[in-house]
C-alpha cells in the first residue's frame, strides 16, 4: 500500500528541512520528544504521543532538499527495509 501526500510550506528550503529533522522543531508540530541522529544510517525515535513512539533509520539525507527514512511504530513488527 502506498500513500502519497504533498504539502507546500511557505518557508525557505532550509527552514522547511529543519522543521522535519530537528528535535526542537519537530516538537512544534509532530512530536512531544524526539531523538535524531541525522545522517545516512543514523536512527531516530519520535514520541508522537506519550506511550506511542515511531522509530526508524535515515536512508537518504540531502540538507535543505531531501530526507528519506524508514518508519515503524515501536512495539509492532519491525519496519520493512526499503528497497535498495
Amino acid at each position: 500500500m502506498t500513500i502519497d501526500k504533498s504539502v507546500f510550506l511557505p518557508v525557505d528550503p532550509d527552514t522547511a528541512f529543519s522543521l522535519i529533522t530537528e528535535p526542537e522543531r519537530l516538537r512544534r508540530w509532530q512530536t512531544v520528544a524526539a531523538r535524531v541522529d541525522l545522517r545516512v544510517g543514523g536512527d531516530y525515535r519520535w514520541t508522537i504521543t506519550p506511550g506511542h513512539s515511531a522509530a526508524g533509520t535515515f536512508t537518504e539525507v540531502e540538507p535543505g532538499r531531501r530526507v528519506v527514512f524508514t518508519w515503524g511504530w515501536e512495539g509492532s513488527a519491525p519496519q520493512p527495509t526499503p528497497p535498495p
Binding site: 500500500m1 510550506l9 527552514t15 508540530w29
Partner: protein, 97 residues
C-alpha cells in the same frame, strides 16, 4: 500483505517468501484475519488467504487521516514561522544572515 495484493495465496506459497517457520506465518495470518485485514477460505485441509478489501480501505483511511492531521500541523507551524514581526524568515541553523 503485498504478496496477497496480487491475489489469493495458500499458506505454503506465502511461507516460501519468508525466513520464518510456516507455523509462524499461519499465526500471523490468523492475527491479520482477526483484525479484518485478510480473509481465509478453507479447501479441504488447506487455507487460502486474500486481502479483505473493506479492512484494507479502513486501514488506508486511518493512515490518510493520520498523515493529513500531522501535515496540517506542519503547514500551520511553517505559516506561523512566516508571521510578521520579522519580514525575513528566521534562520534556524544559527547562521548569520
Amino acid at each position: 500483505m503485498q504478496l496477497l495484493g496480487r491475489g489469493e495465496l495458500g499458506v505454503s506459497e506465502l511461507a516460501e517468501h519468508f525466513p520464518v517457520s510456516r507455523s509462524a506465518i499461519s499465526q500471523h495470518l490468523l492475527l491479520l484475519a482477526d483484525v479484518g485485514l485478510v480473509t481465509a477460505r478453507k479447501e479441504g485441509r488447506r487455507r487460502y488467504y486474500s486481502l479483505d478489501t473493506r479492512g484494507m480501505a479502513r486501514l488506508r483511511e486511518s493512515l490518510e487521516s493520520f498523515w493529513t492531521n500531522e501535515l496540517d500541523l506542519l503547514v500551520a507551524d511553517a505559516a506561523r514561522l512566516q508571521t510578521p514581526h520579522d519580514p525575513h524568515p528566521p534562520h534556524l541553523q544559527g547562521e548569520t544572515p
